[in-house]
């Protein structure tokens, strides 16, 4: 049905996990793996946001709350010596799933700018709770002493093996989001974005469809938080604040809203630019801002759109741009 597009969805994530080790081997610098780990983690988080933003039309300005939740659940459990993913992952899915369900039930009663503000407000509740709860480090955050383990299958303190862990989970989650988009449910989600009234008139449960997408996105983003907690060995309220949510939005927009692989392009561009500029100045965002503005103004459908144009592929439909065609 989508031809070369499907190929892109398979190959791009594989390339994304391969590029880090290649660079590390070429430069002989293992530290560089950390940068690519972060890029993959943000690709996962942005992919989950893209599911609800690009395909469900829900502009969530509080999506980073799930990174924070995932990171804190991981950190608290690891520090209590419960490092097995076998226990951590279900706990993260349960916590983020329940929070997403409640948040969705409240926020999805609204649309448009009200939805943006309500998701922002609800996420800030978690942020300020975390800041003021001294048990878990409060404002200073929570230092995590143990990384997650999986039946001793890999050594989390070996740079290469740890990268393998991050890469495997990221790859699985990015493909999972793509699969959801391509499924029958994905089509229904797109339909509720396109025409909620007609969707209802055809017997679809619009709120239910949106809510399910919101919960899936929250849970996947929670797992991205688990990865980030392991990677940085740290959980801080800052993971969940509105700037982080804004960054996720910026990544999705940079990569191309509603393009399956947009978040991967966006996250790699974002993290690599951040990493490069940060070497020269701590005010890197000052230079990054104009880049984002230029991309939005001149790159129709972000970096993903640029890739499509170069490869002559056509990714999924998106209203604003389809009409201009």
């Amino acid at each position: 049905m989508h031809g070369r597009l499907e190929l892109q969805s398979i190959i791009v994530p594989l390339l994304a996990i391969a590029i880090g080790p290649i660079v590390a081997l070429l430069t002989g610098d293992v530290y560089v793996l950390h940068v690519y780990e972060r890029a993959l983690i943000f690709a996962v988080a942005a992919a989950s946001l893209n599911l609800i933003l690009g395909f469900g039309g829900m502009v969530s300005f509080g999506h980073a709350v799930f990174i924070g939740l995932g990171a804190y659940v991981t950190g608290i459990m690891s520090n209590a010596d419960i490092t097995a993913l076998w226990f951590q992952v279900p706990a993260i899915l349960a916590v983020t799933g329940i929070v997403a369900l409640v948040m969705g039930l409240i926020a999805l009663r609204t649309t448009g700018v009200y939805f943006i503000m309500i998701t922002l407000a609800l996420a800030q509740i978690f942020y300020y709770t975390a800041v003021s709860t001294s048990t878990f480090g409060g404002d200073d955050g929570l230092v995590i002493y143990e990384r997650s383990t999986f039946f001793g299958f890999y050594d989390p303190w070996d740079s290469w093996q740890f990268y393998g862990f991050i890469a495997t989970v990221s790859l699985g989650l990015i493909w999972f989001i793509t699969a959801v988009i391509n499924s029958d449910f994905g089509l229904r989600l797109l339909a509720t974005r396109e025409n909620p009234q007609r969707s209802g008139a055809l017997g679809m449960h619009v709120l239910g469809t949106r809510l399910l997408a919101f919960v899936i996105a929250g849970m996947v983003c929670g797992l991205a938080g688990m990865l980030l907690a392991n990677q940085s060995e740290f959980a801080t309220p800052g993971y969940a604040n509105w700037q982080r949510s804004g960054e996720l939005l910026a990544i999705v927009i940079l990569g191309g809203v509603g393009l399956r692989m947009g978040p991967v392009y966006g996250a790699f561009a974002f993290i690599l630019v951040e990493h490069t500029l940060a070497a020269y100045t701590s005010h890197w965002a000052f230079y990054f801002g104009p880049v984002l503005v230029l991309v939005v103004l001149f790159l129709n459908r972000g970096l993903g759109g640029l890739v499509d144009r170069i490869l002559h592929t056509r990714s999924t439909t998106l209203p604003e741009f389809e009409e201009a065609r």
Partner: protein, 254 residues
């Protein structure tokens, strides 16, 4: 006698101080095409929105095949077989045609959202043959991958009707299906309604094209200012002086 396909009792709707519908009664018998005519502002589309559940009336009840559906939401009514089309076509503008049709076929099969849907990728494949058939039937085959946003008005109207027909509704509400169509396109659509729906699907038809109304309808209800002026056979309506008076005062609508 079987319960009416659709039975409305005392439907009243007010917008602000304006009475859009004042206690409208209407009965749609199984297998009948029942036209609803009247000058602009008579409350026809308001009535359709009440029936589909998109608008909650101040008073009155709606029964679908004997079941009281007054308190049901639009998607619940749709799942019971009550489908509507829209005066301004309401398609999934940026989803390719064949997937518009897929969504409609799913509605026919009352496919409900389940967690299993997440793992269903074969859906489009399972319906592939049927989608191709529908596209051919409605002369849209060459536009299977086109999005409705870039279709001509005539094609959009045809797709709108196709999506309603293939969903195999128990009752169909057609809100001005011929609006803005050329004579040839309108004739083709009338033909489609005659061959595919007549005698099978009870239809409530709102239409301004009187030739179409008189050629299609078994029963006609005339509405003026939110009130039912009369209900009768096309013959009765044509000869009614009351109706002529109502329309003559607002002749531009013809």
């Amino acid at each position: 006698m079987a319960a009416p396909a659709l039975d409305l009792n005392g439907i009243t709707v007010t917008f602000g101080g304006i009475h859009a519908l004042c206690g409208v009664d209407l009965t749609l018998q199984p297998g009948q095409i029942h036209a609803l005519i009247g000058p602009n502002g008579a409350g026809k589309t308001t009535l359709v929105s009440v029936l589909s559940g998109e608008l909650t009336p101040d008073h009155g009840t709606v029964h679908l095949a004997g079941e009281n559906i007054s308190d049901l939401k639009p998607y619940q009514r749709a799942r019971r077989g009550l489908l509507r089309t829209y005066q301004l076509t309401a398609l999934f503008q940026h989803i390719p045609l064949k997937q518009n049709i897929l969504l409609s076929l799913e509605a026919r099969d009352r496919a409900r959202l389940s967690l299993g849907d997440l793992l269903r990728f074969g859906v489009a494949k399972r319906y592939e043959a049927e989608i191709a058939e529908v596209l051919a039937d409605f002369k849209l085959t060459d536009k299977a991958d086109v999005v409705p946003a870039s279709l001509s008005h005539g094609d959009r109207r045809r797709l709108e009707l196709a999506m309603a027909i293939i969903a195999n509704p128990g009752v169909l509400l057609l809100d001005e299906p011929l609006a803005g169509l050329s004579i040839a396109d309108a004739a083709a659509l009338i033909e489609m309604i005659q061959t595919r729906l007549r005698g099978k699907t009870p239809i409530l038809l709102i239409e301004h094209d009187m030739d179409a109304v008189f050629s299609l309808a078994d029963v006609i209800t005339v509405m003026v200012n939110g009130n039912v002026l009369m209900t009768g056979s096309p013959e009765d309506v044509r000869n009614s002086e009351e109706v002529q008076a109502a329309y003559l005062s607002d002749e531009d609508d013809f």
